[in-house]
Structures are given as structure tokens and as C-alpha cells.
Amino acid sequence: MKGLRNYLNKIKPNFEKGGKLEKFHSLFDSVETLLFVPNKVTYSGSHIRDAIDMKRTMIMVVLAMVPALLFGMWNVGYHHFLSIGTYADKSFGEVFFFGFLKVLPIILVSYGTGLTIEIIFAQIKHHDVPEGFFVTGMLIPLILPVNIPLWMVALATAFAVIIGVEAFGGTGMNIFNPALLARAFLFFAYPSEMSGDKVWVAGLPEGTGVVDGFSGATPLAHLAQNEASKLADFSDMFFGFIPGSIGETSVLAILIGAFILVFTGIGSWKIMLSGVLGALAMGLTFQLVGIMNPSIENAYMHIPAYYHLVMGGFAFGIVFMATDPVSASQTEKGKWIYGFLIGIIAVLIRVVNPAYPEGVMLAILLGNAWASLIDHYVIEANIKKRLKRVKVKSTI
């Protein structure tokens, strides 16, 4: 590695102030810090520092998403071959490789577009390139349907980075989760590419060779159309053998990611747990309504509450997106309230809103909008508690 370091040291002056390639210093810095942890030292305060940095933090989140990604790739192949009736003839490798080829371009476009824009902004602002896009760039492909046109991925990513992040002042300053903004953008701008029965299975829109009886609809779509009988088994939904967004189907894979996030101390277990509790609370309420009114024509009210946890993007959203430290509540008590509200709203939208079969995305975006307000009241409560201390004392 000495050779590489020496080479970097040799070309470094070109990128420094006054150098002929000064314009590209952010690009050089990002490549250099990616290869080598810088030689900067402390000079005051704490002389030693924790080995963790933003790069490590973000790469851990990406690692946590890998199980969902790998399963998603396989699932894309699985459903494609299932739809044309040739799954039984294919090997595991063939199935996975098909999905890999379908998903990889989406990831490349997402990272390519996002990082290019981030580097340009970093250059303009004379900042380091922020690592936040490591995560956003992976989140975006995982929450999209596999049939999404690549130009839409690029457009949505650009929207998320420019309007969602940089317009607010850059990474750490945004109020909405950028990946969800990308999805919301596509959802409202190009609804036909983001919902319905055709978008979830690779190759289905062309419709060539699709076997009879294959629908390609997600469990949520079945329920929205009151076709509870077509709902997949609980175990299929848990393991993820259902159509859906690339990374969202397998709750098992997502749980592995959740474990990594919580164990490493990066993701907030409070948000995850309270989100699940909120969804269960709301789901149980609706289930109760369904039991008391058997004639009600809403299939959602006749399923067990815990089904909500394994359907659609709930698990993925609550583990990877609600926990985004920038857009979530920042106080520890606030995190409980924030997660719980997201759980409630997600199920509420699913069950009683006829326009959207999935409510998690909107619930988290709403949660993002409320996060500061929740924090405000938590901070107020802390201030009041501290003031009370004085009063208690003065009465003694």
C-alpha cells in the first residue's frame, strides 16, 4: 500500500489550493479518504477518539441491507421464471443471476446519479463528499419495483438529492428521508410505473409467455381489492416469496439487517419496536372492528393484526427508513412516540384509505414532518422537569 500512498502524496499538491487541478479537490479528497483514513490528529479536548467515523457508520447500514438485497435479487428471478412457468427447470444460480442482472443497473444508476450530484455540490461548497449517500443510494433501488425504467431511477435520485437534501443545506440538514422522497416522487409523478399488478415481476408488463393464473399482485393489492382468499401464506410473506419492491419482501432478511443495526448501535431499536407496537395496536383495533362486524366489506379488517408486519414495505420501512437519524426524532423519548405514530398511521392508511394500497411510505414521511414537533415537546418537558426541581427545593 506504500506505493499507492506515495502516488497519492505525489499528486496531492495538484489538487490543493493553487494547484492546477484545484477544481477537483473534493473528488480527490473523497477518493483519498476512501482509500486511507486521514492522518489528522487531535489537538485539544479528547486526545483520543473512537475508531468509528461516518464512513464506518454508513457502510454498516449498507451491510445491513445486503441480506435484503441478495434475497431481492433471487426473488426477482424466482418470480420471473414462475410467471413464465419455467422455474422448475432453473438452477439456483440461474435464478439469482437473472435477478442480479435486473437489479444491478438500478443500483448503478442510483449511485451514479446521486454521487455525481453530491460531488458537484461538495465541490461548490468546498466540503468533503458526505457519506449519507452510501445509504440512500442503496435504499432507493430496494424500495422500487424491478420494472422501473432506469431514467426514472435517475430522475427520482436527482430529485431526492437536490430537492430533498441539498436544498436544505446538505446531509444532516434534510427534514425528509431522501430515499422515501425519491419513491414518493415516482409514486405521484408516474403512478402507473409504481403500482398495480404489472410492475412487481420482471418482464411481466410485456406479458409474453405468462402462465395462466399468475397475477403478480402483492398481498396488499389482493387485500385492497378484497380478495383475501388470494393472500399468500404467512410464512411465504415472512420469508419473502411474494411479489413486491426489490428489497422489501423478505421480513427474515430485513430482520437480519435489523439485528446488525441494533447490535452495532447504529439503528434505534426504540423506533423499530415502537413502530411495530403502533402497527399492532392499530391492526388489532381494526381486527376487533372486523370481528364485531363480520359483514364489513374491507378485507383488511378480517386478517390477523400481525399480518401487517409482514406485508408490503412495513418491515423494510420501519427498520431502514424510519430509523434514519437525520429525519427521525432526535430525543430518546421522542423516538418512542415517533415510531408508534408511524406504526399507527401506516396501518390506518392501508386499511381505510382506498387510494393507496400501501401506507408505510406516507406514514414515515408524515413522521418526518412531525419529528421536530415531537422533539419540541420532549425538550419542553425536560425543561419543565428541571424547573420543578427549583420549586420543590424552595418549598422545603
Partner: protein, 450 residues
């Protein structure tokens, strides 16, 4: 049996280079110095010039704003040099010892025979007053204040922290004399915090006139700020004083012997020290007396104090006024290939993102590398895990950054000093200089409130 308070939030940083339990006397150094930079907020006004003869306890400078607070020479000798830096800022006043050990004499007497005014005056004149620090603000106590209580921490939970139970052996009489004097300065209680897990020394267990409380848990269980918060939190308008056990001993010594004795027991710690241990030496001594031939290699960081809050020294520097230890660790001015993604069996981290979590009891060698780049404050919830106060650390920090005085006040700025935020700074993924932000906030409050 004293009350035991358990501290759950915090972090034990297990570093290599703990001080061995050996005590050695350090011979007289060639040079001693007093550094105005040791005293936060003090603008020095010189009272001597080069060539002046001084005794131990003779004033070298005073505070321009509060001229009654004197800063005195630790030894007798000749003022050798007044070293100045940028804009003629006084860096140090050095004294070459004459070896005669002459002491300026001060009022002697038992606590019950002296009134408060005499005690305060004696402390001010002798140069021991600066050892009393006040909260809020973490600055030298104001002589006109009457604190609601005085806190002494007899435990150091910081990484490689000193063992006061070892240091205080045989100092029972002086410690008690010091406590008796201090009890005349407050109408409230004197609190002494000790380590619940260690065998407490006789000087602490046998002391009268104070409230003994044991603390158990990771750092900052030993920080005096933690003790204040748990027992007698500071509200607006209230003042608490704090000091170190060795300074209590020095106060006791002043009133029993009538002289300023700057002898302290200093721990030499750190992975880059050949022979660690405790050394009896005079405050302000040139570092060569303690470091000569005792440091491994030359690319090292010498720290006056502990690794979390100490000050940056170089080998030609002097022992500070407050610090009970000198720590030497490796300098981190090197690049590391792909360090941020490496498995990291040898890297200490609060998070479980490095495989070092497999070896929690290992002693780590940690260098001074920042280990990353400065970023926006993004990750939330971590500070709260190492901050055992009923204070929202991230929100207080943000209030300080935007200089919102009302909010800082409401969120608890009066209760903290920079050392309480040291662990937050250590674990921060954004590599923000949190302690200096807190100091700026405190300085702003001093300015606005006085």
C-alpha cells in the same frame, strides 16, 4: 456505610499503561514554571520581572479583573524568564530554584480559631485559591460567593485515571485539616465521592465534617459534575465549589504549617511510558524530570491530565497547576489504508461496528488520530448513552452552537463543564470538537451573566 449511587450510563475505556503502584521522589528540577493558560478566563497581570528573587508562595502574577487572586511561585529562586507568545500573550513565568527551600509565611491556625475572612485571605495570598473551582462555568471560584456545597471527587474514572486511595495514604491529618478549613467556607455540606468498587483509604473513610458517597459504574462515575448532579444539582443562581483531594491536603498544609507547599503526587501513565508509577514532585516542574529516558520513541503525545480532558504539552513544557497526572500515548499522524472498513480487532470503539467488541477486557493502545473527517452532527441517541445527567446533551450542544442563551440556561448549561462532555466527544462519529463548543458556551454565559 456510605450511600452507593450506581451510574449506568457511561463508558469504560480500557487503555494500556496504567500507573503501577510505586512511589518515587523526583529530585529538584532545573526549572519550574507557572502557566497562565492553566487558569480559564484569567488575564494575567505580572507582579515580578526577570531576575527577581522569589520564595515559595511569592506572587508571580494576579488576575487583571480580580487582582486579589494571586498566583504564586511553587519554589524559591530567581525569576528566569517571562515567556511570551503571539500578541505578547504570557505563556509561562519560569523560576530557577535556589535549592534553599525558602517559604513565604502565611497565617497558621486551626479552623475553629479562624474566621471566614482570614481563611479566604490566606487562600488568596498563598496561591491556593485557584484550586477552588466553581460551577456554573468551571472557572476559579469567586471570593465573594458562599457556595451552597463543596464537592470533592476522590475517584478518577477516566481512562488511566489516578488512584486517590493510593495517593492519599498517610495524608489523613492534612486532609482532615483541609476539610475543616473548607467547612468554614460554606453553610452547606462538603461531599466526598469515592469508588464503591475499591478499598477506600483511611484519609477518606476516617474524615469528619463531610458526607461520604460511593459511586459505582463506568466513567464519568468519578467526575465531580456527575456527583453534583446526583446529590445537589445546580439551579440558576446557585454556586457549588469543587476541588481535588490533593488540593484539600495543600490547604490543610497551609493552615497547619503556615506555608504554601506545592508538592503533589503525580501519576505517570500511558502506553508509551517505559516505567509508569506515582511520583512525588513539586507542581510546575519541568517535564524532563519525570520523562527523561522514560518514553518509548519520539512520535508521542504528552498530555497534562488524562486522555479525555488533558492539555497538550511538549517535552520542554512544565507540569500544570491542576493536573494530577501526565499521560504519554502514541501520536496518530499516519494514514491507514482502508481503516474505516477493516475488521478492527485492535480498535477501541463504543459501537459494536469493530470486532474489538469480542474482547471487552483487552487493554487498548489508542493513538491521537481523529479517525475520520469532520461531518454534520447526524447520529443521534449515542450521547445519551454516555451522559448520566438529566440533560439532553445534543439539544444543549445545539443551543450552544446557535448561542441561544435562554435555551442554554433552560437545558442545563449551569450544571456542566467541558469534562462532562468528554465522552460525547470521544464517541462522536462526526468528530466535532464538543468540549471546545461547551467551553465557548460557558465563556459566553460568564460574559452575559456578569
Amino acid at each position: 456505610m456510605s450511600k452507593v449511587i450506581k451510574i449506568k450510563k457511561g463508558l469504560r475505556i480500557n487503555l494500556a499503561g496504567k500507573a503501577g503502584k510505586t512511589m518515587a521522589n523526583i529530585p529538584t528540577a532545573a526549572l519550574y514554571a507557572l502557566k497562565p493558560s492553566d487558569f480559564i478566563g484569567v488575564v494575567p497581570k505580572l507582579l515580578v520581572k526577570e531576575g527577581d528573587e522569589v520564595k515559595a508562595g511569592s506572587p508571580l502574577f494576579c488576575d487583571k479583573v480580580k487582582p486579589e487572586i494571586l498566583f504564586t511561585s511553587p519554589v524559591s529562586g530567581t525569576v528566569k524568564e517571562i515567556l511570551r507568545g503571539d500578541r505578547r500573550k504570557i505563556l509561562s513565568i519560569t523560576v530557577e530554584p535556589d535549592g534553599k527551600g525558602q517559604y513565604k509565611s502565611f497565617t497558621r491556625g486551626a479552623a475553629n480559631s479562624l474566621n471566614r475572612e482570614t481563611i479566604v485571605e490566606n487562600l488568596l495570598k498563598s496561591g491556593l485559591w485557584p484550586s477552588l473551582k466553581m460551577r456554573p462555568y468551571g472557572i476559579i471560584a469567586r471570593p465573594q460567593d458562599k457556595p451552597k456545597s463543596i464537592f470533592i471527587s476522590g475517584m478518577d474514572s477516566a481512562p488511566l485515571g489516578v488512584d486517590y486511595n493510593f495517593i492519599m495514604k498517610g495524608l489523613e491529618r492534612e486532609f482532615q485539616a483541609g476539610i475543616d478549613i473548607l467547612s468554614k467556607l460554606t453553610d452547606g455540606k462538603i461531599h466526598l465521592g469515592v469508588d464503591a468498587k475499591a478499598e477506600t483509604c483511611a484519609a477518606f473513610t476516617g474524615a469528619q465534617n463531610l458526607v461520604l458517597t460511593s459511586y459505582q459504574g463506568p466513567h464519568p462515575a468519578g467526575n465531580v459534575g456527575t456527583h453534583i448532579h446526583k446529590l445537589d444539582p445546580i439551579n440558576k443562581g446557585e454556586v457549588v465549589w469543587t476541588l481535588d483531594p490533593q488540593q484539600v491536603v495543600a490547604i490543610g498544609h497551609l493552615f497547619t504549617e503556615g506555608r504554601y507547599d506545592a508538592t503533589r503526587i503525580i501519576a505517570l501513565t500511558g502506553s508509551e511510558v517505559k516505567n509508569t508509577g506515582y511520583f512525588k514532585m513539586v507542581s510546575g516542574a519541568h517535564l524532563s524530570t519525570i520523562l527523561a529516558n522514560n518514553v518509548k520513541g519520539s512520535n508521542v503525545r504528552i498530555i497534562g491530565g488524562n486522555v479525555l480532558t488533558g492539555s497538550l504539552l511538549d517535552s520542554d513544557d512544565f507540569l500544570g497547576y491542576y493536573e494530577p497526572q501526565i499521560t504519554v500515548i502514541p501520536e496518530g499522524n499516519h494514514y491507514e489504508f482502508m481503516g474505516w472498513i477493516a475488521p478492527g480487532f485492535n480498535k477501541f470503539s463504543f459501537s459494536h461496528t469493530f470486532f474489538s467488541w469480542l474482547t471487552p477486557n483487552k487493554e487498548y493502545i489508542v493513538d491521537t488520530n481523529i479517525k475520520g473527517g469532520h461531518r454534520a452532527l447526524m447520529i443521534t441517541g449515542n450521547f445519551e448513552k454516555v451522559f448520566p445527567f438529566n440533560i439532553l446533551p445534543m439539544q444543549l450542544l445545539k443551543a450552544i452552537i446557535i448561542e441561544d442563551i435562554d435555551l442554554m440556561e433552560q437545558l442545563g448549561i449551569y450544571e456542566v463543564t467541558e469534562e462532562d462532555f468528554a465522552l460525547c466527544e470521544f464517541i462522536d462519529t462526526s468528530k466535532t470538537e464538543i468540549q471546545s463548543i461547551v467551553r465557548k458556551g460557558l465563556d459566553l454565559m460568564v460574559k452575559e451573566m456578569s
